[in-house]
């Protein structure tokens, strides 16, 4: 059975609506984790409290749009999709930084190949020893949700840390 973190559980619970099919790993975690059991109860309360649109709203909307003709030349533009963006560099800074990084990579790489420089000793050590990676396997790292591999586990961050992370992501 795959071990689930609190954050995995939180995301999984958010996907599920009301009744859910038995899920061994999920249920095992919830049974043993008071925090996640509490979150399950909270989500159930939120769903039960979903505000309903007032009676007659659909009809009043239909009445309003009945006389509206879709316009060809209306100024409203479709919303621009904002994907997660890497920090932007100014055109010259960006090009200069990339060029410098490329040159540095060539120089360092060349030195390592010749067995020279400070990295050469480290490279030898790595090649000769068995290095065990401690932590989740690569496949378990967050992928396509805009968070980079190695990013912090959200459930373990305080409110202040989450707000700081948000500011960084939105700047």
């Amino acid at each position: 059975m795959t071990h689930m973190s609190c954050e995995d559980v939180s995301d999984r619970l958010a996907e599920l609506a009301g009744d859910r099919a038995p899920d061994g790993a999920l249920d095992a975690h919830i049974q043993g984790c008071r925090a996640c059991a509490g979150e399950l109860a909270l989500l159930a309360a939120l769903r039960a409290g979903t505000p309903a649109a007032p009676a007659g709203l659909r009809e009043s909307i239909l009445a309003r749009v009945a006389d509206v003709e879709p316009s060809r030349a209306w100024a409203w533009s479709a919303p621009r999709l904002v994907a997660w963006r890497a920090p932007r560099l100014g055109p010259w800074w960006g090009a200069g930084a990339l060029a410098a990084a490329g040159l540095a990579a060539v120089v360092i790489g060349g030195a390592l190949l010749r067995g020279e420089g400070p990295g050469a000793e480290a490279a030898e050590l790595l090649a000769s020893s068995e290095v065990e990676l401690d932590g989740p396997a690569l496949a378990e790292w967050p992928g396509a949700d805009g968070l980079l591999a190695g990013a912090p586990v959200l459930a373990e961050l305080s409110e202040e840390e989450l707000e700081t992370l948000l500011e960084e992501m939105e700047s």
Binding site: G38, A48, P51, P54, L57, V65, S71, P79
Partner: protein, 189 residues
């Protein structure tokens, strides 16, 4: 309050919706009716979360659909119609809010059971939370977290879709959701 809310978590089949949009653009009333029926609850939920007042949210919902219809021919289909429409609803509601001044607060009672500092959120306390109590607590959240929690839990959108509606990244939507849930758990424990 809708104790037996039927959440439409699965998106409408894409091909079916494309056909519906095509017919709505051509002015077919039945297609327009179908789109309004399908998304009224979603649009109202967004408007209510922005404005906090059911009457204002009702007005904004009507305007949002009018705005969307007027711009329907400009809808390119690169986002889903649902997120496109909800983005319009969000902008329309915010415009309403600016026109009438500060967001009109529905009179909020103190959230019952608010934990004292230092107490440990207990599953038992959260398990006793009623639907109304949870709903009042959501209204207290800052707008971004309010929207993320509402759209995720009450309307069933993915983080990516929430980002499309709010104009943020998928990652930021996820962070806002977790921040909102964290705050709710602290308040309600």
């Amino acid at each position: 309050m809708n104790p037996s809310a039927e959440l439409r978590l699965a998106p409408a089949p894409a091909e079916e919706e494309r056909a519906l949009l095509r017919r709505a653009r051509e002015g077919e009333r039945a297609a327009l009716d179908a789109l309004v029926s399908r998304y009224t609850d979603d649009v109202y939920a967004v408007a209510l979360r922005v404005l906090g007042d059911p009457e204002a949210a009702r007005d904004a919902s009507q305007d949002a659909f009018v705005n969307a219809l007027r711009g329907l021919r400009r809808f390119r289909g690169d986002a889903s119609f649902r997120t496109w429409l909800l983005r319009i609803a969000l902008n329309t509601a915010r415009s309403h809010g600016r026109r009438v001044g500060r967001r009109r607060e529905v009179a909020l009672e103190a959230v019952n059971g608010q934990a004292e500092k230092g107490s440990d959120p207990a599953a038992g306390a959260l398990a006793r939370i009623g639907a109304e109590q949870a709903e009042r607590a959501v209204r207290r959240l800052p707008e971004k977290q309010r929207l993320a929690v509402t759209l995720r839990i009450q309307r069933g959108l993915s983080y990516r879709e929430i980002g499309e509606v709010t104009g943020s990244s998928e990652g930021a939507a996820r962070v806002n959701y977790h921040l909102g849930i964290k705050r709710l758990r602290e308040w309600l424990a």
